[in-house]
Symmetry: C2
């Protein structure tokens, strides 16, 4: 009899810790290891959302901006938009013999990742302008969504959109649950990101700020249509991340998240405003689970960002130490 | 005894109609007279929001775009941004002697409304670029907000932002209560509108799409700052309303609202998509309470819009007949 009471009591305690314990139930960032990065994020959110706190910030001012490649999603061996553009260039190449010798089309046809990586957003916009001219934004997005679902990442052999960072998905949800508006501000072309951002990031098309190609409005078979032109419009990198935020959002963010030197101006812009601010850089330190790269990388180069981070008090996430899980598909094996 | 019962009964009936009657309690558009315009709007909202309806549209697709001048707010005797620019040009003129002979600055100094009206958005952007270069977006907005609060409209002798249309404010609230996202898509420069849009329209800065001046990001006294340059960037009128929607919103609206030929492409774009759509033009027909103008007006010219409206089934609001109240400040006298 006494034994069965003991068993019952143990079961009750287990049940309590598994389901009722305030820590287990309320940890908003379960894939983040406890440590200074996680505490800085949670401390910031608590400070700006607690009524009466000196740092309290009205909900409408809680704007958070996120770089995409390397911050919310992997960017190796090359920015994923290039994989889509390689598919497009190869499909269209028979009609464009000039591409055999014209860069960056030649590099796309040859799969020259090293050349393409160096062209960065300018290469992406040139390829988009060259391959999408004459198509509508709706056609491009529908095609991109089909491509993304069928794509296979060269290392992980899964759709590229599976390579989103689980800790950052938790951070996005946590911020939104605390009244933040979460925007993507990316060097990647907007239609490419909008094709899967809502499903993958929970961020709708109207909250994607990015690089764009010139478009034109026309009536096509009685339907008003926005059609891509063969020319770039805006490259959303470096100092043009804050200018894009001016054009498209119109408020200084109170939190900004990036992973490369190209994100420095956006983080400066966010964190040099008045009141409590958060800047965070993701440092790629895990060559086993993801990739390890920083100062010398042609993709996602992070060099001056380290100095700025220490001067300005930005959080630098060490992916290897700070993140218990990197990709959502790992979760089953790690828990 | 019988008489007092009668009185009591009458009081009860009055009380019921004044406070409990479903019609009085739920009319979302009390400043709209009953008629085909009001019924078209309510019928559209019911159709797209009723689960199981053939026309049901998921909340995330409920994007509604509104022109500002002449659609949400008066635009006579001239677009209100010109009144602000006249104030800026006069304040700065001592430092810019060339403006005495350089258009459109000369016209602003002379108060030549007729000249300024003809320059439209191009004139607004030239004046903004000329008067705001070197200032930050934050300085411009703070100054505009102070100016707007102190401004006196030449006819109504009140702040210009008082000249917002009460029926359109009700429409904005009604759409938002039904899950719509309401955007402004305007030919006016964005900082000017963002200075008062949240207070006046309930529309935050991040949902203002409009004409812009070139800006540059720089560090100023250690603070990351977006500063205006002396050049235009984008004019958001006519066929560039749909292109601006592509760049900044990334979804085809399901409802669009305008008042002039410059809004035709935006209404075409919205209403030629699949599924139930609403296009609405505000026709200025009330010379007594507001202004009466259309085909021949240099401001808010509405001419081809009538043909498009009848071909495409757009609602044309007759302000005189359809609107019980025009401005919020009338309400006290009319009720």
């Amino acid at each position: 009899m006494k034994k069965s009471i003991c068993v019952l009591l143990t079961l009750c305690i287990c049940f309590f810790f598994a389901t009722v314990s305030p820590y287990a139930a309320t940890d908003p960032l379960p894939s983040w290891n406890n440590g200074p990065s996680k505490q800085a994020v949670i401390g910031f959110v608590a400070a700006v959302t607690t009524p009466g706190s000196l740092d309290f910030t009205a909900a409408e001012e809680r704007i958070a901006t996120f770089d995409s490649d390397g911050t919310l999603m992997a960017e190796q061996p090359i920015y994923f938009q290039f994989l889509y553009e390689i598919y497009r260039v190869k499909a269209l190449a028979p009609g464009y013999p000039a591409w055999q010798t014209l860069q960056p089309f030649k590099a796309a046809l040859e799969g020259d990742m090293s050349y393409l990586a160096r062209t960065a957003s300018q290469g992406e916009v040139d390829l988009t302008a060259g391959t999408e001219a004459g198509r509508s934004d709706e056609e491009i997005r529908a095609d991109t969504a089909v491509w993304a679902a069928a794509s296979r990442h060269p290392r992980f052999d899964r759709p590229v959109t599976d390579l989103v960072y689980q800790p950052m998905l938790e951070l996005l949800s946590y911020l939104r649950a605390n009244g933040f508006k979460t925007y993507v501000v990316t060097g990647t072309e907007i239609a490419f990101v909008r094709a899967w951002s809502e499903k993958t990031y929970g961020i709708p098309p109207e909250m994607i700020v990015g690089t764009s190609v010139k478009v034109r409005y026309l009536m096509r078979d009685g339907i008003g249509t926005v059609v891509y032109e063969p020319a770039g419009n805006f490259i959303c990198n470096g100092e043009d991340k804050p200018t894009a935020i001016h054009y498209m959002i119109g408020r200084r963010p109170i939190a900004a998240f990036g992973n490369s030197d190209s994100d420095i101006p956006m983080l400066q812009y966010a964190t040099s405003g008045k009141g409590r601010r958060l800047g965070l850089l993701v440092h790629h330190t895990d060559g086993r689970r993801e990739w390890a790269y920083d100062r010398a990388s042609p993709i996602g180069k992070l060099d001056k960002g380290f100095d700025e981070a220490s001067q300005r008090g930005w959080v630098v996430v060490d992916m290897k130490k700070d993140w218990r899980v990197i990709f959502p598909f790992e979760k089953g094996t790690l828990r």
